[in-house]
Amino acid sequence: MLESKSVIGDGLVHDSAAAHVSGSARYVDDLPQLENLLHIAIGASPVAHGRIRCIDLSEVSRSEGVVDIMLAEDIPGNADIGPVFAGDPLLAGDTVEFVGQPVFAVLATSLQKARQAVTKAQLDIEPLQAMLDLETAIEAKHFVRPPHRMSRGDAESAIADADLKIDNSFHVGGQEHFYLEGQVSLAIAEDDERIKVYASTQNPTETQVLVARVLDVPMHRIEVITRRMGGGFGGKETQSTAWSCLAALFAHKHHCAVSCRLSRADDMRMTGKRHAFFNRYCAGFSPQGQLQGIRYELAADCGYSADLSDAIVDRAMFHSDNAYFLPHVQIDGLRCKSNTVSHTAFRGFGGPQGMIAMETVMDEIAFHAAMDPLDVRKKNLYQPGRHDLTPYYQRVEHFPLADMIEQLEVQSDYRQRRQNIDRFNNQNPTIKKGIALTPVKFGISFTVSHLNQAGALVHLYSDGSIHLNHGGTEMGQGLMIKVAQIVASVFSVDLERIQISSTSTDKVPNTSPTAASSGTDLNGMAAFNAAVEIRSRLVAHLSETYSVSPDIITFANNRIKVDTESIAFDDAARSAWLARVPLSATGYYATPKIHYDRSRARGHPFLYYAYGCAVSEVAIDTLTGESRCLRVDILHDVGNSVNRAIDIGQIEGGFVQGMGWLTSEEVLWDASGRLITDGPATYKIPAIGDTPEIFNVSLLENIPNAEETIHRSKAVGEPPLMLAISVWCAIRDAIVSATGRAHFPQLNAPATPEEVLSCINRTRRSE
């Protein structure tokens, strides 16, 4: 029935692009200010673990401009804002569990005054023993959630029987989100005890739930609105809610408007990061590089509370096979507790930390089998119908990766470049080059099944213009334009007819966070369903009016063809309205086919997999450990692209973000548990000079998603981040050239200059 798909697949620009470049795209802090707007600053714990003896805020309350102060005991409702499990107090009660944990909040007439007042607090805290080291926490079994195991076959025996074995471990660092727009929320007290919250959040519904919880009012009193975020990356999935709660509490109490915007330093100290992992593995393989059995222990530093860590470590486990068939496998996932901020969702959601373990194993097998790592990777890939069972018993049915790798190998001239690099390395004792091709297979769906649902609301107005709303949020990923394209294609109208609107909890209720790369899959399908509902009402109306069969009514180019007549779309809308046809519809979508029995660690948690592969070439300086990424070639699978430009943007951006995670971005705490990389002066995300000079990105063409997703597209938000593992593996490849074939260089992530030099020294010393 869809006649025109002209708006699908094109490289249409982001709906807000013109507003972005003009400075007219509004973020929460840019909204017109209401009179008497008040501002919050937050007082935080200076110790990593301790019992609060006394909080003396007398100087704070006397400070200029201070209106009010809030402590845990002043919260009328439930002060625990844990998203899944309890354990995240909005303000600390008796004990503090990390440096930077919010203890009190100050309301003042300006942000500057609120921040100055906070510095005058006297906190008397009795220090308690703090857990600040991941390996110690593993040893002590100091967990926020119980360990979980996945297994298939008999890994132990398979390893024991194998000709060759490896037994190794490495650290993977965390990552600060560094969204350019920090955490911010604006709450406005309205009539009838209602609160309206403008929040920079990936999760308006969760914000609504928690604001209602801390205020002890029903959800219907709270309306949360999100037009756009200045970046999210997972950092505004659960950890954006506290600031809305504080703003709402004060707004409710003083019946006014309250803004809560964190300074960059507070944002970095008070919100969680990507989990650091300590990965251990033990594997058995053949001299030809065939993996036979493997045992993993993937241990995450979760920080002081559970937050989303159960699901994050699960996803690390789900991806510790990456693209390879593991004949016998056992995976243990540990959720360790430390006295640091609670670590949280970050693009990939644990997947990258699991996947990098597998890619390390591939490199180490290749090293011992004296093979090109690419050949070992190819040898161990899943093979549908033969070697296709994952460690969690989902079958890998559609697997274009083998072909994709072949294509990229040729396209990127991998073999020739490998030879050139060898020649270069022979001629240059100081600078060494390395190259690696690594694949990505990423499971798409929330592994928590109930989140795989979405709603949309579409209105067709009598002038033929269309209002679009859905539960997904815009954080820069281009969700709004993609969903608008989908709706425009249903009606075969120009995109200009579709009005994108803010995500709002009073338009579409009970939504899931915009996360897990699911935005378009879920909301696009919900909006599609809503639009199809309205279109079918239009068809029914026209079929009746013109006494023709509905089958011959078609939509194309802003017109509807009814038999021999062609009606302008606006005229049809008006005629339907006059005929009292309802022109508003909700749409709903729940992902089919997925199921998972966590108690048995078996099931079909993912509707499908998204695939990609990348070749990266790097150079390292063996005197200093500095590295540069020289060239990157990517081939990525987005099924049928809904918007090529947006998809390529996700791929390039995700790749560079992943490269930052694995090279220059280092999250560091001092011995007292204080974050010492608490600003962009010490925490280094990639700058423009880090962009690879040669950066070729291509999409896998003409292979639609085998599953019935929206326009047979595939999710693209997270998977490309993991393509950057190729950079990290290429750095190791260069280190091998510097240190020789005797010992495998066990590289930790991030491969900062210091880590690279240290790895070279360690590897050389073991000789």
Binding site: H20, V21, S24, D29, Y179, R264, A687, P753
Partner: protein
């Protein structure tokens, strides 16, 4: 004070609108004017989301510079034109820079975008002013202080290429004459009710320092502003050095170039290209473009940071500093200038007037190595500078004299006396360098911090000596990773 906000004359001498001496340009824009297109990403001059452009009357027309508005004091705008992202559209049409960013999908979340647009705009306006290098390098250099977390930069680089290729005039070109005349007509006020002082001579400066002993001196302010935005310090009055005529001079002789202390780092780079090419290369990685437009030589030395990048270089070159204190002048070698953590020989009321940097003779070499986690816009874990004088012009000859200094290795920028001693009078060879390496640990006992561990710093200092040697001999292969 008076300045142009695009074409609107702003006069803050009579109407203060809650403005204080330490108000930043960003706070003025966002809080006083509610011009919210300019964003706050970090309030510390590290991300560039707040980038705005300042134009001022230069020798040949208007000179445009990108600034971090979050660490620029409003008072510095006196007599200049401030242009923000809101001013780029004309007649409801996107400026070519904006159109290029849209066309190449240069924005995703959009929050960093206004800053990128303004840096690209400044690049375009400055594109025929004293710039060399290829197109890509020009773009990377112009945008080195703008962080984007979404795009991976590739589309922004593409937009930058289009901007450089576009030659059409914009509304700023057509109004340039008018703007120049209006700016020239603004009074050169030294004092107003607004206690951000802008003396125009050393004599005026001396008097102001005398009358306002607690007012901090602003020499670019890229470091001082952090006290305000990060540590919440209030300064009721400030004294800017940017207009003091004697501090803006550049004098060149056969043996040295003497820079006034208020000369910007961006200007130093122009001279460095011809006299100290390694310093020019270092300056490419010094802070960001925005910081180099504001930051000054005197500021970088006066702040006495142990990790500043200029001090080790100037120490290796045995630079003399001309100090000025009410009515008297004295000369101090930079090698005697730093006395402790953020402490210098400057006495109360005394300032750095000029920095006299010796030129290199044909038998002298300067090697500079900066190591940081990120190539651009990062603070050094270690910055080493080595100046060597050979007995002849061949590199394998004897070392007559050598000076080595490092930043990031001690509480002050510090000379490596033991290494120097080990190398002096030796033949320049790998053997000599290997031997000298062992002295690194005598000269330095660095600390571990967020940038690197003590052990790494020591290890790299040793290896950088080797790199200096390898750089000087032809058969060592590629030793510079940026040429890999």
């Amino acid at each position: 004070m008076q300045f142009l906000l695009q074409d609107e004359l702003i006069d803050l001498s009579h109407n203060d609108q809650g403005i204080t001496a330490d108000t930043t340009v960003l706070d003025y824009l966002r809080l006083s004017r509610r011009l919210t297109g300019t964003k706050e990403g970090c309030a510390s001059g590290d991300c560039g989301a707040c980038t705005a452009v300042v134009s001022e009357v230069g020798e040949d027309g208007l000179r445009y510079s990108a600034i971090n508005s979050c660490i620029t004091f409003l008072g510095e705008l006196h007599g200049k034109q401030l242009i923000t992202v809101e001013h780029l559209r004309s007649n409801n049409t996107l400026h070519p820079v904006q159109a290029a960013m849209v066309r190449h999908h240069g924005s995703q979340c959009g929050f960093c975008t206004p800053g990128f647009v303004m840096s690209l705009f400044a690049m375009k306006k400055a594109s025929d002013q004293s710039e060399c290098g290829n197109q890509r390098q020009k773009i990377l250099k112009s945008l080195s202080g703008n962080l984007c977390r979404c795009t991976g930069y590739q589309p922004i680089i593409e937009a930058g290429k289009e901007v450089l290729e576009d030659t059409t005039a914009d509304q700023f070109d057509s109004s340039a004459d008018d703007t120049r005349k209006r700016l020239a007509a603004l009074p050169a006020a030294t004092r107003s009710g607004h206690p951000f002082f802008r003396p125009r001579s050393l004599q005026q400066l001396d008097q102001l320092i005398d009358e306002n002993p607690d007012a901090p001196l602003v020499a670019g302010g890229t470091d001082l502003a952090l006290e305000v935005t990060q540590k919440l310090v209030s300064y009721p009055s400030m004294i800017s050095l940017s207009r003091v005529a004697e501090l803006r001079t550049i004098e060149e002789s056969d043996h040295f170039v003497a820079f006034g202390a208020a000369v910007q780092l961006e200007t130093l780079q122009v001279y460095a290209e011809s006299h100290w090419p390694d310093l020019a290369a270092l300056l490419d990685r010094f802070g960001s473009r925005q910081v180099r437009f504001s930051g000054t030589l005197g500021g970088n030395l006066g702040t006495a940071s142990p990790i500043g990048d200029l001090p080790p270089v100037l120490m290796a070159l045995n630079t003399d500093l001309i100090l000025h204190g009410s009515g008297r002048q004295r000369q101090v070698s930079i090698n005697d200038f730093f006395t402790g953590y953020r402490k210098t020989r400057l006495e109360t009321g005394e300032i750095i007037q000029a920095i006299r940097i010796p030129k290199l003779k044909s038998n002298q070499q300067l090697y500079i190595h900066k190591i940081s986690k990120r190539r651009d816009d990062d603070i050094s874990a270690i910055c080493m500078a080595m100046w060597v004088e050979f007995s002849g012009t061949q590199p394998d000859t004897k070392i007559n004299a050598v000076r080595i200094a490092c930043g990031g290795m001690a509480e002050v920028p510090k000379r490596a006396r033991h290494i120097e001693e080990a190398l002096t009078a030796e033949t320049w060879s790998m053997r000599a360098v290997e031997k000298a390496k062992t002295a690194v640990r005598k000269d330095y006992q660095p600390i571990s911090d967020a940038r690197a561990s003590a052990e790494y710093r020591l290890n790299v200092a040793e290896n950088l000596l080797i790199r200096c040697y390898l750089q000087s001999v032809p058969d060592s292969g590629i030793v510079d990773i940026d040429h890999a």
